[in-house]
Symmetry: C2
């Protein structure tokens, strides 16, 4: 009876909140363009083949979310530039993690389309990974997720689930 995309803002989880705001294909593609240096309305359209109404909507959302700020182009007063804020720039690791994951699993036969080099050294950047304090690479199975249930006590997520499922296959 709805047709609208549901909101899951009520879910008390940082990832869910991030997805609520940034987990939209066009939002992510616009951010990708931003990191490529694209800043203007018609350049987004040229690169993304996005309809004007949707582009307007997504740029507005990104500004509202504090990811981008709007500025008048100094050279052409008709023009607007959308610039990444500090919050927007801080999304870079997510974007690069996504990029590298894609290169690892969906690579073209003829090699990578894009190489990311550290400007200072000229060497490729490291694969974005979850690391321990002493820089060991950690997978999902090496990390313990502690959920704070807001009642004062810290609760072990895994133990709680095990309890609830009463010995089902894990």
């Amino acid at each position: 009876m709805s047709g609208a995309r549901k909101s899951f803002a009520a879910v008390d989880c940082a990832v869910a909140q991030a997805i609520e705001q940034m987990g939209d294909p066009w939002i992510l593609l616009i951010l990708r363009c931003q990191f490529q240096g694209i800043k203007r309305f018609d350049d987004f359209q040229g690169h993304l083949q996005i309809s004007t109404s949707v582009l307007t909507d997504r740029l507005r959302r990104l500004v509202e979310a504090g990811m981008l700020r709007k500025e008048q182009d100094a050279r052409d007063k008709r023009g607007t530039v959308y610039l990444l804020t500090e919050k927007g720039l801080d999304f870079y690791p997510v974007m690069i993690a996504l990029h590298q994951w894609s290169e690892r699993w969906e690579a073209r036969e003829d090699g990578p389309r894009l190489e990311l080099l550290d400007k200072k050294s000229g060497e490729p950047v490291r694969d974005v990974r979850v690391l321990s304090q002493d820089y060991r690479e950690l997978g999902a199975r090496d990390v313990l997720a502690l959920v704070d249930d807001r009642s004062g006590a810290m609760m072990l997520d895994i133990k709680e689930r095990l309890r609830r499922r009463k010995g089902n296959a894990v």
Copy 2:
């Protein structure tokens, strides 16, 4: 005249391809649940309040994309478990980068809802960042994106854009 979400599969870019496949809110939320250990149809519904038709569709897409595999539950032959493949598990850095970004910028006043600890040491994991070979943290401005134009020569992305825009504000 369309109403359908457009495909940008033709865009020759790894990030765009990743977004085409994984840049959907429900896809991302299902993956988040997977990393929490949720594996069964009705558990996804319970946690996500997702409609059955959409959940069916997204699980099918995730299996098709090679992120999840379907298995019959050994204990209950009615049951199906959806398990992360190697490709799916490798998506972990993206998920944690998203989580940490959200905790940094959308944190509740009363502190983090989830703490991620290295099982081996008990210490929190590092913030997921783009790192140089010698572990310097790199921002978007510290990284050079080299585009391979498939014509043999490597082409400097930034220089090319500068040339095209003929001295517009950067």
